[in-house]
């Protein structure tokens, strides 16, 4: 079973919300939509769910065109950023509500709720009301309700955004194995690169209503094929520079980028690209340090292990290995490296 979006477009007066989105989502996979606020994640999910009808393109479910089919005729479950539960119903009744609507016999209903409650560690809370739960427990209830339905499409729209950092960390760890068990098509929207990496699966990066890249998460992270995909999938932000700073690069390259963890401090050893700049800010987390360095008009971030405390304004040398530097052309498309172009540049 699969959900295929072909050339889907959606607009509101004066703006394009989705621009020629084509995606294939397979059953049993976790698909992350990664992009900043207003990049079109929620709109795309609404189109997938059948809440909105696209202006252009079509949506195929197992080969059937379902473009105009309203949401209640589809097998869809959705979890939102806000904790959406029925406030007057107990946790049990909240989870059981889609099963009641479907008219399942009591024994079957009890069994499914019990299973979902066990997986999401809600068993001791089944008789409570949502108002008596913590944020994490409320969102677990909403997720349980989505899973218990055994819908063929489960959409999660930034489900952890309103939770405490540590709770987020716990749920990120718990969710992937749980999702794997459902066998549904799972779509998970997030703004955070780290969340996409922790969830694994496949990732599609979104930028201004376009899907800039789609593929296995680690693969998209390591080999972004557009500048936008690289930017969206970098936290700390991508370190960038104009290609004309370094002569002799891949032909057509206009902009270069590399990630913070690949930038090192000190005089450049042979074979690495060296730059000189000034420290603007140092942020120390205890385990690692983020040193922000002004290089001309650009600000780069170096992610260094341990505590590196440098005063602002200090002149520093930084370096990066040429193999870590990605080149993009004027249109933002990835340009594959020619034979050792960077090494020549260094020389």
């Amino acid at each position: 079973m699969s959900l295929v979006l072909q050339d889907v477009g959606l607009g509101v007066p004066g703006a394009t919300v989705l621009d020629a989105v084509s995606l294939t989502l397979e059953r049993g996979t976790l698909n992350v939509l990664l992009g900043p606020t207003l990049s079109g994640k929620t709109s795309l999910m609404r189109v997938m769910a059948g809440l909105d009808r696209p202006d252009r393109g079509c949506i195929l479910l197992d080969g059937d065109d379902v473009t105009g089919v309203p949401v209640r005729r589809r097998s869809v479950a959705m979890v939102y950023q806000q904790f959406v539960n029925y406030p007057t119903l107990s946790v049990y009744e909240n989870i059981a509500s889609p099963l009641r609507i479907a008219g399942l016999p009591r024994a079957e209903r009890d069994a499914r709720v019990a299973e979902a409650a066990r997986l999401l560690r809600l068993e001791p809370l089944l008789r409570r009301l949502p108002g008596q739960l913590s944020g994490g427990q409320q969102q677990r209830t909403a997720i349980a309700r989505a899973l218990v339905k055994r819908a063929s499409l489960v959409l999660l729209d930034e489900p952890l955004a309103n939770l405490d950092y540590k709770l987020r960390e716990e749920l990120r760890e718990e969710l992937p194995p749980l999702f794997a068990r459902t066998g549904a098509i799972l779509v998970y929207a997030t703004t955070e690169p780290m969340e996409a990496l922790l969830l694994g699966g496949r990732t599609s990066t979104l930028w201004e209503g376009r899907v800039t890249q789609s593929g296995p998460t680690a693969e998209v992270y390591r080999r972004p094929n557009t500048l936008e995909a690289a930017r969206v999938f970098s936290d700390p932000p991508l370190n960038e520079l104009d290609a004309d700073v370094l002569p002799g690069l891949a032909p057509g390259a206009a902009r270069l980028g590399f990630r913070a963890e690949h930038l090192s401090l000190g005089p450049p050893p042979p074979g690495r690209l060296g730059f000189e700049g000034r420290v603007s800010v140092t942020e120390i987390t205890g385990s690692e340090s983020f040193v922000h360095v002004d290089i001309g008009a650009e600000t780069w971030v170096a992610l260094l292990p341990g505590v590196v405390d440098l005063p602002p304004g200090q002149a520093v040398q930084v370096h990066v290995h040429p193999s870590q530097v990605m080149a993009f052309d004027g249109a933002g498309q990835f340009v594959p490296a020619a034979e050792q172009p960077m090494a020549e540049a260094v020389a």
Binding site: P36, T37, S134, G135, D164, Y165, K166, L167, E169, E173, T191, E192, P193, M194, L197, L198, G200, A218, Y221, R222, R231, D235, P236, P237, R259, E261, S280, V281, E283, I284, T285, G286, S287, F290, H292, V301, L303, V307, P312
Partner: protein
């Protein structure tokens, strides 16, 4: 310009508190120095927001005194405390321009027009708002609005302290970096006391000189980011700081050895036989899958781009370890190497010092 002293401050929301559990904030003594940046870090309901509200004057503490530069301000209303505050959701005056927003606190205090305009320009240039000064504030992005909120505090020269209440909640990850370094730069330039409340350890650790870790209305540890990372005083601090948090394993400790489910770990120092519940703690950053070491079962390896983390089991106990970049893990068997100096011993959740 001020030093803030919390002298036995405690707060209970209900009347007549009796047990510890009735207190949203248990009695605490802290001194916050002028010019430093502090973070209050803890999960929801740990008392950090209550503490912030006590400082801003929104909440009157049940007991204790609040001193600004030695002067008792416990009973003073917010507007007479000379503090600035940035809230979780940007607060801007919709009907005004950016300049109007920045001038508002000065006009309210009856400052002359020329002086107001000079102060506004100075603050706007520091925050990078000069280009949008004449734009209506309501049409700007969330990060610009947060800068305006901050600017309304900084524009006053009498500000004693700037309080932040989870100010980056509604900011996109990419822009968080820019706003955070802006905060840092402002702090450096103005030499102000800043207090930052958050549940996000990255924000707390990167922002603050000193982080106050709270849980259940109690302060568990105050320290620099490096101290909290290297030597957590309490198992909660170990768990809460670091991503993922510290591995905590039930153990028995005798001399310079700890035994975990039958396996022996060498410790860096000698320990007196600890009382109560004993755990050893080691951060994932210092537990690495290697060619030799303790035998562990590998459950799963997560590729996080710049590191790989292995979820393993030592005997019955799960823990997280790093996987070296060049290491190839075959099957489910692996070896775990832990540096003895990085293992801490906890008795009833409190850190034990070696003899």
């Amino acid at each position: 310009m001020a030093q803030i002293t919390l002298d036995g401050i405690a707060h209970a929301y209900g009347p007549r508190p009796k047990t510890d559990a009735d207190y949203a904030l248990r009695p605490l003594h802290l001194v916050w120095e002028q010019g430093k940046a502090y973070a209050l870090l803890g999960p929801s309901g740990c008392g950090k927001t209550t503490l912030l509200n006590i400082i801003s004057g929104l909440v009157q503490p049940t007991v204790g005194r609040l001193l600004f530069d030695g002067r008792d301000v416990t009973a003073l209303p917010t507007e007479r405390r000379n503090i600035a505050q940035v809230f979780q959701f940007p607060v801007i005056y919709d009907t005004m321009t950016v300049a109007g927003n920045l001038a508002f606190p000065l006009r309210n205090r009856g400052m002359g027009a020329a002086e107001v305009s000079a102060q506004v320009r100075k603050t706007a240039s520091m925050l990078g708002l000069l280009d949008v000064l004449e734009r209506p504030a309501r049409n700007l992005s969330a990060d610009a609005k947060q800068k305006i909120s901050l600017g309304r505090g900084l524009v006053r020269q009498d500000v004693a302290a700037v309080l932040f209440d989870e100010p980056l909640t509604v900011i996109d990850p990419g822009l968080k970096w820019e706003l955070r370094s802006k905060l840092k730069a402002v702090h450096r330039a103005l030499d102000l006391l800043m207090i930052y409340v958050t549940h996000d350890q990255t924000e707390a650790l990167t922002f603050a000189d000193q982080v106050v870790v709270m849980n259940g209305g109690q302060v568990l540890q105050v320290g620099t980011p490096a101290e909290l990372f290297d030597r957590p005083d309490h198992t909660f601090v170990g768990h809460f700081i670091g991503s993922p948090g510290m591995n905590l394993l039930p153990a028995t400790v005798a001399g310079a050895e700890a035994r975990v489910d039958g396996y022996t770990l060498a410790l860096a120092g000698q320990y007196a036989a600890p009382a109560g519940r004993v755990q050893v703690g080691v951060r994932p950053d210092f537990a690495e899958l290697a060619a030799e070491g303790l035998p562990v079962q590998v459950d799963r390896i997560d590729d996080l781009g710049r590191v790989r983390l292995a979820r393993v089991r030592l005997g019955r106990h799960p823990l997280v370890a790093r996987v070296a970049a060049n290491a190839a893990i075959q099957g489910t068997e692996a070896r775990l190497r832990i540096e003895p100096s990085r293992i801490h011993v906890y008795s009833d959740d409190r850190l034990m010092a070696p003899l």
